[in-house]
């Protein structure tokens, strides 16, 4: 069969339409497209793509099944390592992971692994008659009396909860907000990740027996020590990196200057774009500058367009090559009309006499020597100051772990910037019985790394509880053996 160099294009809502709604932008492959795309795969023996996958999904296997039209089997294969495929297919930065290593990428376009993943996961959802996927695996009834508290209901927390509930543990997820999903709900807008998909994944975790208690802030409502002394045998901290970094430049507290978190939370979690039907208000912006160029920044620009902003721009101090957002989202933002002011750094917000933002003073930058991160450091060009008129400035330059847990848990070791220190092999922190994973450990990262950390910690927690209570340690599940084995022996 001759190999087609180009991948199947992703059908999308046209840009001029989609900026008027919050419906999903990417419409997903048709069955024909999924088949055609899957058939591009070479089924490489060495599986280079798998190495790029943080959870080691057996990509050639599920893609081969999809190429044969066995979509349900493909989904089952995918789910051995990835419990949230419909989400990952939509939000993973595949161009930096699996697809980066795809052999086809050397001569043409890599297999659109993420798009096939998404198709397969959606296909399964559609063909399970609204059934959220019964889990029929073995649950060990002996484990039910052991309680595990999971702090945070983002991807890391959901993964741990799902895996431990499958084993038979009594799992309780504590979520600070009134709704679940973490960044998947309050950060990522529904035009990238429709809420029914997120809800379905959460219902699945609940169907496994995990209990979710919302409106509980660990560190405030109860502390980790209290959880441990109050009947829980282990705690998993998956609180993410939720504290917004501000710029600490003059004028930052003017009305009109918001953190990306506030902007997105108002819109995504509180649904302020439907004010006054919903109670949380939103000021309609006209000229918006979003500072930063990560996923949060892109999401801010695109939500700003959808709530009616006339002009939206990214202001970023480095160049295009350093922009950390997913390539597809940068492209989408561009198509939707977002402007990019690169090598530009705001130094001051300027307000009117009533305290409202009217403009922003910026400096032009150029790239100098590489810094610690290996990226070339932006250096200001003297005398390049200029004024940009804006009524709304959204600061999306990064998030750090919230200090709440760190400051209320004695003995919990953290890094200089507040990340929780863990044993990479088990996920255990400096406190026995307390585990952590996801953004709370790594700092702002990705959905799939958070999920991967959850997988490891679930095993670590199981091992810890079994050892603590002298329970028999079951032999490794065959599934894991298989995928590990495959990687090494072609």
């Amino acid at each position: 069969m001759s190999r087609i160099k180009e991948r199947q294009p992703m059908p999308q809502q046209p840009a001029e339409e989609r900026i008027k709604n919050f419906l999903e932008v990417a419409l997903g492959y048709s069955e024909e497209q999924a088949l055609a795309e899957a058939q591009r795969c070479l089924s490489c023996k060495k599986k280079p793509c798998v190495e790029g996958c943080p959870v080691m999904v057996d990509i050639p296997e599920f893609v081969a099944l999809a190429a044969e039209g066995k979509f349900l089997e493909a989904a089952a294969s995918l789910k051995k390592n990835n419990s949230l495929p419909a989400i990952c297919g939509r939000v993973c930065p595949q161009e930096e992971q699996c697809e980066k290593f795809c052999l086809l990428g050397k001569t043409g376009q890599p297999v659109a692994i993420g798009r096939i993943e998404r198709f397969v996961a959606d296909y399964e959802a559609l063909h399970s008659n609204g059934n959220i996927g019964e889990y029929e695996g073995p649950k060990d009834p002996m484990l039910a009396k052991y309680g595990v508290a999971v702090v945070g209901s983002g991807p890391a927390g959901l993964t741990v909860a799902g895996d431990l509930a499958k084993m038979g543990y009594s799992v309780t997820i504590f979520e600070a907000l009134h709704d679940t999903g973490g960044v998947l709900r309050y950060g990522i807008p529904e035009f990238r990740l429709p809420r029914n998909i997120l809800n379905r994944e959460i219902e699945y975790v609940q169907s496994l027996g995990a209990k979710i208690v919302k409106n509980v802030v660990i560190g405030k409502t109860v502390t980790i020590d209290e959880l441990l002394s109050g009947g829980f045998d282990a705690v998993f901290v998956a609180t993410g990196a939720g504290a917004p970094q501000m710029m600490n430049i003059p004028g930052e507290n003017l009305n009109g200057v918001l953190s990306g978190n506030e902007w997105l939370t108002r819109i995504n979690l509180m649904r302020a774009f439907r004010f006054p039907e919903y109670g949380t208000p939103l000021k309609k912006p006209k000229k918006v500058a979003v500072i930063g160029a990560g996923n949060t920044a892109m999401d801010c620009t695109r939500t700003a367009l959808r709530v009616g902003a006339e002009e939206v721009a990214i202001v970023y101090r480095r160049s295009r090559a350093e922009m950390p957002a997913r390539a597809e989202e940068i492209e989408n933002a561009e198509h939707e009309g977002v402007k990019f002011h690169l090598l530009t750094n705001p130094i001051r917000f300027i307000g009117d006499d009533k305290g409202w933002l009217v403009s922003m003073e910026c400096l032009k930058m150029e790239l100098g020597e590489p810094d610690d991160s290996g990226r070339r450091r932006p250096v200001p060009i003297p005398g390049s100051e200029f004024i940009m008129e804006v009524d709304t400035a959204i600061i999306a330059i990064g998030q750090t772990p919230n200090p709440l847990i760190r400051t209320t848990t004695e003995g919990l070791k953290t890094t200089r910037w507040g990340g929780i220190v863990i044993d990479e092999a088990t996920g255990m922190t400096s406190i026995p019985g307390v585990f952590a994973g996801g953004d709370a450990v790594t700092g702002a990262a990705t959905v799939i790394t958070a999920m991967g950390a959850g997988k490891i910690a679930a095993k670590g927690i199981d091992k810890y509880i079994r050892e603590k209570y002298g329970l028999p340690v079951p032999s490794e599940e065959p599934v894991q053996e298989e995928s590990k084995g495959n990687g090494q022996n072609p």
Partner: protein, 301 residues
């Protein structure tokens, strides 16, 4: 969720945390009282919050599934019954919606206790100042200051007599109680700063002042005490969303530094607060809030 968990044989204080958690908090309104025409009290079933709540902390409440999240100070916590008391003044759409919840019904979302507890010490002589619905929030702090050994003078101010709530309870908690009304319908005619200034001028040794109430009143108290250098702590209530340090919407400038009220406060040194900025920030959504209020008022009729 099992309703009526507070009726269990064991009191909330006796049950293990895991039991409490697994039973869940219903946020059922066990008692609803109207303290004045516009001020409403709810006693809510929430043993989890009641366990750890201390003076100066607040909860974030959402009145219904479409509603906004607003902070409300915890005015009392009963660890044995497993309940917390919140008191709010009906001023806008969200509080109107909250006030519609009947006794026996549940508040959908109540999250807390949030914020850093008030610093309670034996300062010597302390003045506790409460204005309007702020009086309700003064109670736990007054109580704590008294228990810490302070001589407590309480000054309560309101626009008119009907808004002067909790007079008897506050009298019991304080060594001395002074009342003021703007219109002179009760107590001293005038505002709370009158008696404060008088006391400071009289040379009486005042070591600590705590003020809670409408922003202009707290600001006026801070301005009154500034020349005398008496430590004056105020409890701020800017716009909030999450209440956990996640959004930064609650930013205030204190002593030239940006603080997140929900985690660094709500108590701050009143002499250090940038009041002009706070006033502007609180009015961020004024137009939208007015529109929403009118809408809610129409619904009410």
């Amino acid at each position: 969720m099992k309703p009526d968990t507070h009726d269990c044989a064991l009191t909330a204080a006796e049950r293990s945390l895991r039991e409490i958690v697994e039973a869940g908090a219903t946020n059922k309104v066990l008692r609803k009282e109207k303290l004045s025409d516009t001020i409403v009290l709810f006693e809510l079933d929430n043993p989890l919050i009641a366990r750890n709540a201390v003076a100066g902390q607040f909860v974030v409440v959402r009145p219904n599934t479409l509603g906004e999240r607003i902070p409300l100070t915890i005015s009392d916590a009963d660890k044995v019954r497993g309940t917390i008391t919140i008191i709010f003044q009906v001023v806008g759409r969200t509080t109107m919606e909250l006030a519609r919840i009947k006794e026996g019904e549940c508040v959908p979302d109540v999250c807390g206790p949030l914020g850093t507890p008030s610093e309670i010490e034996n300062y010597g002589t302390a003045i506790c100042v409460g204005g309007g619905v702020g009086i309700a929030f003064l109670r736990p702090i007054t109580k704590a200051l008294k228990e810490a050994g302070n001589e407590v003078i309480t000054i309560l101010g309101a626009r008119e007599k009907s808004l002067l709530i909790l007079e008897n309870e506050m009298r019991e908690l304080s060594d001395e109680l002074i009342l003021t009304t703007d219109d002179g319908s009760y107590g001293i005619k005038g505002v709370v700063t009158g008696p404060i200034k008088e006391m400071l001028d009289s040379g009486r040794k005042i070591d600590y002042i705590f003020a809670i109430g409408p922003m202009p009143m707290m600001r006026a108290v801070a301005e009154t005490t500034r020349p005398y250098g008496v430590k004056t702590v105020v409890s701020l209530d800017p716009i909030m969303i999450d209440g956990t340090g996640m959004c930064g919407g609650c930013r205030v400038t204190v002593g030239g530094q940006t603080k997140f009220t929900c985690v660094d406060g709500p108590d701050f040194d009143g002499h250090e607060v940038d009041w002009d900025e706070l006033k502007i920030r609180k009015a961020y959504y004024f137009a939208e809030e007015q529109a929403a209020k009118e809408m809610a008022a129409k619904e009410e009729n």
